[in-house]
C-alpha cells in the first residue's frame, strides 16, 4: 500500500514537473507546480514530517504559488517562447550537461544503500519536537530569519515604490 502511494505521488510529481517546464503558458506552469508541490507534500507525510507537509501545502502551494499566479495575472506575459536563436546554442550545450547531471545523480544516490540507522520507527515530525529544537539548539538561526524577512519586506517595498 505504502509503495503504491509512493509510486502514484512520484509519478504525479514528475509529470507535473515536466509540465512546468514544457508548458507555454505561465498560468498552466504555475498550476502544474502546485500539483507537484501537493504530491510531494504527501511524500513528506510518508517520510514522517507531518508539520513540514502541512507547511508545504499551506505556505508553498498555498501562499507562494498564489503570489506567483497574482504576478502572472497582473503582467499577463503573452510573449513567451523557448530559447531564442541566440540562446539555442546555449541550450544545445546545456541540455547534455543537464543530462550528465541527471545521470551523475542517479548513479551517486543509490550508493546510500539500506544501511544507516534503523528506519522502522521514523522520527516524529509533529510540532512539539520541532518547536523544542527550534527554540533551543536552533534559536540563533530562528532569530536570524527575522532579519532575513525584514530584508525581504524592505526590498519588496523599495522595488514596488514608483519612482517620481
Amino acid at each position: 500500500m505504502e509503495e503504491l502511494v509512493f509510486y502514484l505521488c512520484a509519478a504525479v510529481a514528475i509529470v507535473a514537473a515536466l509540465t512546468v517546464i514544457v508548458q507555454r503558458s505561465a498560468v498552466y506552469s504555475a498550476l502544474a507546480l502546485i500539483a507537484c508541490f501537493c504530491s510531494v507534500a504527501i511524500l513528506f507525510f510518508q517520510l514522517g514530517a507531518e508539520f513540514i507537509a502541512a507547511i508545504q501545502v499551506i505556505v508553498y502551494a498555498g501562499a507562494i504559488m498564489v503570489l506567483f499566479l497574482f504576478v502572472v495575472m497582473l503582467i499577463d506575459p503573452e510573449s513567451d517562447a523557448f530559447a531564442s536563436n541566440r540562446l539555442k546554442k546555449l541550450t544545445i550545450t546545456a541540455v547534455p550537461l543537464a543530462a550528465i547531471l541527471g545521470l551523475l545523480l542517479l548513479w551517486a544516490v543509490p550508493a546510500v544503500g539500506p544501511n544507516g540507522s534503523d528506519s522502522s520507527h521514523a522520527a516524529t515530525g509533529g510540532i512539539e519536537p520541532l518547536a523544542r529544537s527550534l527554540f533551543s539548539d536552533y534559536l540563533l538561526p530562528f532569530e536570524v530569519t527575522s532579519i532575513l524577512i525584514l530584508v525581504a519586506v524592505l526590498g519588496a517595498m523599495v522595488l514596488a515604490k514608483r519612482t517620481d
Binding site: V20, A83, L105, G113, G155
Partner: protein, 100 residues
C-alpha cells in the same frame, strides 16, 4: 516501507528537471518556478535523510529553506513586476541592453 533511495532518486529527477527548466526557458517567471522546483527536490532529499538518520535536524533545515524561499519569492516577484512594467514582457532576452 519505501526505502530512502527511492525518495533520493525522485529528488534527483525533480532537481534535474528543474535545472533543465531554468536553462531552456526564457520566461523569467517560469525560470523562477523551476528554481522553486529545485528547492523542493532539495527538501525532499533532506527529509529522506532525516528519516534515514531518525533525526529532527534536517526537518528544521527544511523549515528554514521554506522561509528563505518565501522571502526570495517576495523580492524576485517584485523585480519581475518591475521588469514587466518597463518592457511589457518577461522574456529575459528582452533584458539585454548589455551584452552577456
Amino acid at each position: 516501507m519505501v526505502s530512502t533511495t527511492h525518495f533520493l532518486v525522485l529528488g534527483a529527477i525533480l532537481f534535474t528537471i528543474g535545472t533543465v527548466g531554468v536553462i531552456i526557458r526564457r520566461n523569467v517567471i517560469i525560470m523562477f518556478m523551476c528554481v522553486e522546483l529545485m528547492l523542493n527536490a532539495v527538501n525532499l532529499t533532506f527529509l529522506a535523510f532525516a528519516r534515514h538518520f531518525n533525526q529532527i535536524d534536517a526537518q528544521i533545515f527544511v523549515f528554514f529553506v521554506m522561509t528563505v524561499a518565501a522571502a526570495e519569492a517576495a523580492v524576485g516577484l517584485a523585480l519581475i513586476v518591475q521588469l514587466a512594467r518597463r518592457t511589457n514582457s518577461v522574456d529575459i532576452d528582452q533584458a539585454d541592453t548589455m551584452k552577456w
